[in-house]
Amino acid sequence: MRLAGPLTFAVAIILSLAGVAHSQEKPLREIVNSFAEARNFNQTEEIVAELGATGDPAVVPVLRALSEGDLHVRKSDNQVFIVSGRGKTLTIIDPLTGEMVGEEGKRALSKIRVNNGLRRLIRDTIGGLALGSPDPAARLRAARTLISNPDASSLPAIEAALEKETDPEVAAGMMRARAAAILVSERPDAEKSEAITAVAAISTQDALSLLLGFRGQATGELREQVDRAIARVERVQSYWAMAQNVWYGLSLGSVLLLAAIGLAITFGVMGVINMAHGEMVMIGAYVTFVVQEIIRTSAPWLFDWSLAIALPLAFLTAGAIGYALERGIIRFLYGRPLETLLATWGVSLILQQAVRTIFGPTNREVGSPSWMSGAFEIGQLTITWNRLYIVLFALAVFAVLLFVLNRTSFGLQMRAVTQNRRMAAAMGIRTPRVDAMTFALGSGVAGLAGVALSQIDNVSPNLGQGYIIDSFMVVVFGGVGNLWGTFVGALTLGIANKFLEPYAGAVLGKILVLVFIILFIQKRPRGLFALKGRAVEA
């Protein structure tokens, strides 16, 4: 019985593809309505095969609805409909035209039952139908489906479709589908040998499992060939896995870079550890939340712009808090870095509790604009848009800061103060002002990071706490007084983390990275890119 369905289906497809007009067959609606008479799964299966045999893409929605359990029979007249909605009354839709017909009580309808075998058949049928679809993209999709679910019985259909195929890309896809199907068929060894090469060229996980499955039955030369092919696919797979890890690492690294770079600036220039830095990030995320709330209630059409609006606001809010913090507390503690650390920790507690009091302790929902959702693929890499945008954003922030530090007079003053505070003061640089502005800048950048992190993390009062230790590690690892150190530090730690994860697990990976940094800092107490010389020692 298992084979009966696919075989009928295959024959039918060949017929349809061979151009046998289905006008001689029963009209579509009649076949569809015949579901009402099916007494068991076998009969339903036959009808599915019959529908497939029509080769008409119009049956695809019917089959899909059937598979999802949305195909119902109206008891009064044995007509078949697609239903939608929930509850006691359902909307009924014409299965072929897709028009709404009206509403019907649930009791007046009976669902056409499906089982897993049927669902598989439906999937393959739709795949086969799509091979004949006029849309090349649909044909390509169908070919890909057939690669992941190879079936010897679909071989004739593929080969028939291949003959007619004109689009080279789709043809290549079909060749691969064919090769996949050959491996599970009874074709002669010569063809299988070719198929192995073709399947190996696909190099996906599907191809690998296909080859591994084939290996069990292969003998002699074929066995050797398949072993080589498996080795090759595994190698390619490992490259892709590595590429994927690098991507994840870059993605994590850019998040770390965003979180740490403001810290690096304040630490570098003022030698001050700002323990409230994480809270600046958190505040940036909450600014995003507030902006989105306002947009939701008063100007929903602006939603796609919400992040663009939130960015400057987050920068200014966090920057202003940073400025106030410097003027109000930190400036009284210069030369006492450990006390500054404690005072800013106190501030971080206050900020956390303030946000908790205002917004509540639970996670807040921050939405993604449409242009940030979804993903795309490069080869076997899956890249989500929001991660990509965050990487780009981090790079942009880094570039802007680099520009500010190296090409503006404020940057020059900052660098002068970093290198030799007293000398800078003697040259007429108003160091208190530079300090305050630096602190505001560092905090503002943290606010920007908060906007970005609101897209990938839970917006809660504890948001900042999760990043503060990692940010410290980046700064300590990268060294002080050089933004490139932070850059290299963040990306290295991001990638190291992601590479350790598969072997050690996420938590152990993180522990290993921490241990590594603890050991590293003892070798190079001032980080990768440290300033050297007498001035630093002082």
Partner: protein
């Protein structure tokens, strides 16, 4: 008698008074709890005994931190780790004491291991059924960690905020590790449901009273050790390397070894505090490793006055008393209060309560001395040989 012994060993009167006070409390509180009738106005209820006992262990922890921060200038943001390790060592002993009384009734393995389908006790759990072994571990594990960590850190001259940050990373890494179930320390839930200690029910009033007394004695010993170390020639060296580390090197000392010694002693003290803490609160879990906990210890020490011996004890008692009060009355304001305390103390009371008082007294004494010195100088200036100094 005690005070006589202490005085013979060269301790200041202030320190002796503190020790006597602690020991007196160690006797008075348990006695009032056990002997006095519950209706008596001076009766201390059992829950207060446990609470105060907990505070005493905190005081010991703060004192341990003060030894490294106040006297050596090492701001450790990871002292909670030593405390927690000591606590875990004690917790492991208490877990082994449960025996067949656990939910699964396994005579050897704690419940969580049975739950995780472990077949046998991990090697590092062996020996913890013996009290003496557990007590050795209470001191040894934190001590070893501090020694190894300090050996690397101090020898490569990691100082200041860098050191603070890697100590924080250390406790953070340990927290992550202890959260893992396969570490074999009960994961998220930690160790709890203790039944008895040395055969006595941990819930019993008498046991609570005894644990309180033990905490008081431990704190008193901690004070003696700290006072002896800081009052000795070594203590001067500690202060010297705190204030001008490289200068001590040019005198031929190795400040890293000074720090390593202080750090290790301090870690052992913290471990003992943790071991006394666990039976009194009835649980130890990875949350004790949280970096926030370690920083809180810093504020106790700062409030009381770092670089003094009485300060951290007073600070720990005050801040924790405040915390208990706040969380009872205005729970949502506790973090505001704590945060504000950090800021206030660093800005306005950098030497803490005790330090500020001592300064005040010290300044008056200094003034009197300066006056005397001036007189002396005026006298010597009158002599023919010119001695230019001022």
């Amino acid at each position: 008698m005690i005070s006589g012994y202490l005085a013979r060993n060269g301790l200041e009167g202030r320190i002796i008074a503190t020790i006597v006070l602690i020991l007196a409390a160690g006797v008075a509180v348990p006695v009032s709890n056990l002997v006095l009738d519950p209706s008596h106005p001076l009766h201390v209820p059992t829950y207060i005994v446990a609470l105060l006992g907990k505070y005493l262990t905190y005081a010991l922890l703060a004192l341990a931190l003060d030894l490294v921060w106040g006297f050596c200038g090492i701001l450790s943001l990871g002292h909670g780790a030593f405390f927690a390790l000591g606590g875990y060592a004690m917790g492991m002993y208490l877990m082994r004491q449960i025996g067949t009384r656990g939910v699964y009734g396994n005579p050897v393995m704690p419940d969580f291991m049975v739950f995780l389908n472990w077949k046998e006790l991990p090697w590092y759990w062996h020996g913890f059924d013996q009290f003496w072994f557990a007590m050795v571990m209470v001191a040894l594990v934190p001590g070893m960690l501090a020694f190894v960590f300090g050996w690397f850190a101090f020898r490569s001259r990691v100082t200041g905020v860098y050191l603070s940050i890697i100590t924080q990373a250390m406790t953070y890494a340990l927290m992550l590790a202890f959260f893992r179930n396969d570490m074999g320390f009960g994961g998220n839930n930690g160790l709890t449901d203790f039944k008895d200690i040395l055969g006595f029910d941990v819930q019993a009033d008498t046991t609570r009273a005894a644990l309180f007394a033990a905490s008081a004695v431990a704190l008193a010993i901690g004070v003696i050790i700290t006072a002896r170390i800081t009052g000795s020639h070594f203590g001067k060296l500690m202060i010297a390397s705190r204030d001008a580390e490289s200068r001590t090197r040019f005198l031929g000392y190795r400040p890293e070894m000074v720090k390593l010694f202080a750090f290790t002693v301090s870690a052992v003290m913290a471990g003992v505090a943790g071991a006394l803490y666990v039976p009194q609160v009835g649980i130890i879990n990875p949350g004790e490793f949280a970096p926030a906990n370690s920083i809180e210890v810093v504020v106790w020490t700062a409030v009381g006055g770092r670089g003094t011996i009485i300060g951290p004890i007073i600070g720990a008692l005050l801040v924790n008393g405040g915390k208990s009060w706040f969380t009872g009355v205005l729970p949502e304001f506790w973090l505001f209060a704590l945060g504000g305390l950090f800021v206030f103390v660093t800005l306005f009371l950098p030497k803490g309560i005790v330090g500020t008082l001592q300064d005040h007294i010290g300044r008056r004494r200094e003034k009197r001395q300066a006056e005397k010195a001036e007189e002396a100088e005026a006298a010597s200036a009158a002599e023919p040989t010119p001695v230019g100094a001022e």
